[in-house]
């Protein structure tokens, strides 16, 4: 791979990492592509050797649609989608197959819950199912559709969240107060069926690991990362001068997590790289 180097000189080198392909939600694609094309991401794109990360290709992807036929006309002709084609999961798989033949690693880093700010008690059926469709079934569909073009030894990683975990029965642990346990295991503010969707995602990770492991020789794991103030996370709550949900989550982690240090996104990057790599060849179905 030929890369342009900083400091005014051009150096040709073979970078050693993986070839990277991205899937981006069509409505935000123009802005994201512009920031890549105009190289406005700055330091965020710089790899450890000082070179700029090369993204081979960005595919529009809406993981709530499995095939082209399932995209309603009201969506495909809408303002935010009409400029794009081939953004259902199967179409992206087909394009990658045509462009590169196979793929080794697949990362599911997407979720959506239209009613995330509502308590589960107040969540509509539509909102609940939408959260599960975008955040959990999207993973099932991706594994199902990508696996046939994945090389054996390949792996899938997704991102989950602690809110999926069950409320522990405090009777079994008399030392803990119910309040502490509840605050550890239930995450108020992560509503709209999102906690349900992440529970499904974690359960499906185990089932998919078994099925895809047997059928295709690939591994499936999910990472339950701590709170990171990403742009997507900042969108939950925080009306006006209120703190956002993620701010509360970060404060809580700082006060209670075993390692009180700040979580950086490259901590999660490193964990995912490990789980995808052959170093983790014996780890599958894990959260």
């Amino acid at each position: 791979v030929c890369l342009e180097f900083g400091f005014g000189s051009i150096v040709t080198l073979f970078i050693a990492g993986a070839r990277v392909l991205l899937g981006t939600w069509p409505p935000v694609m123009p802005l994201f592509k512009a920031s890549i094309d105009r190289n406005t991401l700055g330091e965020d794109s710089i790899l450890s050797d000082g070179s700029t990360m090369k993204i081979d290709k960005i595919y529009p992807l809406d993981a709530t649609f499995d095939t082209k036929e399932l995209i309603p006309e009201s969506v495909s002709t809408s303002k935010r989608y009409k400029a794009f084609n081939g953004y259902s999961i199967q179409e992206v798989v087909d394009q990658i197959k045509a462009d590169y033949g196979t793929v080794d690693y697949v990362v599911h880093s997407l979720a959506n819950g239209p009613e995330v700010t509502k308590a589960l008690l107040d969540t509509s059926r539509e909102g609940y199912l939408a959260a599960n469709s975008a955040s959990a079934y999207s993973m099932v569909s991706m594994v199902s559709r990508f696996a046939p073009i994945m090389n054996p030894g390949g792996a899938v990683v997704s991102l989950t969240y602690i809110a999926s975990e069950k409320v522990r029965n405090c009777v079994t642990n008399l030392l803990c107060s119910a309040l502490i346990e509840m605050s550890l295991q239930v995450i108020p503010g992560y509503g709209g069926g999102m906690s349900s969707a992440k529970a499904a995602l974690e359960s499906d990770t185990r089932t998919l690991a078994y099925e895809a492991g047997r059928k295709y020789g690939i591994r499936v794991n999910t990472i339950s990362a701590g709170p990171l103030a990403s742009r997507a996370a900042k969108a939950i709550g925080g009306k006006g001068s209120e703190k956002t949900f993620i701010d509360y989550a970060i404060d809580y982690s700082k006060a209670n997590a075993p390692m009180a240090h700040e979580l950086y996104n490259h901590d999660v990057g490193a964990t995912a790289a490990f789980l995808l790599s052959p170093l983790a060849r014996a780890i599958t179905g894990k959260s």
Binding site: I15, A16, G17, A18, R19, V20, L21, L22, G23, T24, W25, V28, F32, S35, L41, D44, S45, L47, S48, M53, K54, I55, D56, L61, A63, V92, I96, Y100, T102, V103, D104, Y105, V106, V107, H108, S109, L110, A111, M142, F146, V157, L159, A225, L228, S230, R231, A232, A233, Y264, N265, H266, V268, G269, A270, A272, A273, F274, L276, S277, L279
Partner: protein, 88 residues
Amino acid sequence: MTISTFSSLLLVVLAVCSSIAVQGFALKSSSVVKVRHSMVTKLAAAAAPHRASSLKINMEGKTVFVGGVADSSGYGWAITKACADAGT
């Protein structure tokens, strides 16, 4: 008490004091040496080519697809970067 006896007593006191001081210092410096030594051992182990290569994440020649990246602030981007960076 003659002056010479006094001065020899003083010498003994001084000697004891300084030996304590030296011992204290010696204790400290030996622990420093120990810490440095263990660091050196660890660094040497990490630098040993055989061991280092066996634990290196190398994604050379691999292709990764990351679904759900829309900016450079989230986990998707970080994972993409880690994969692009994972090589020799």
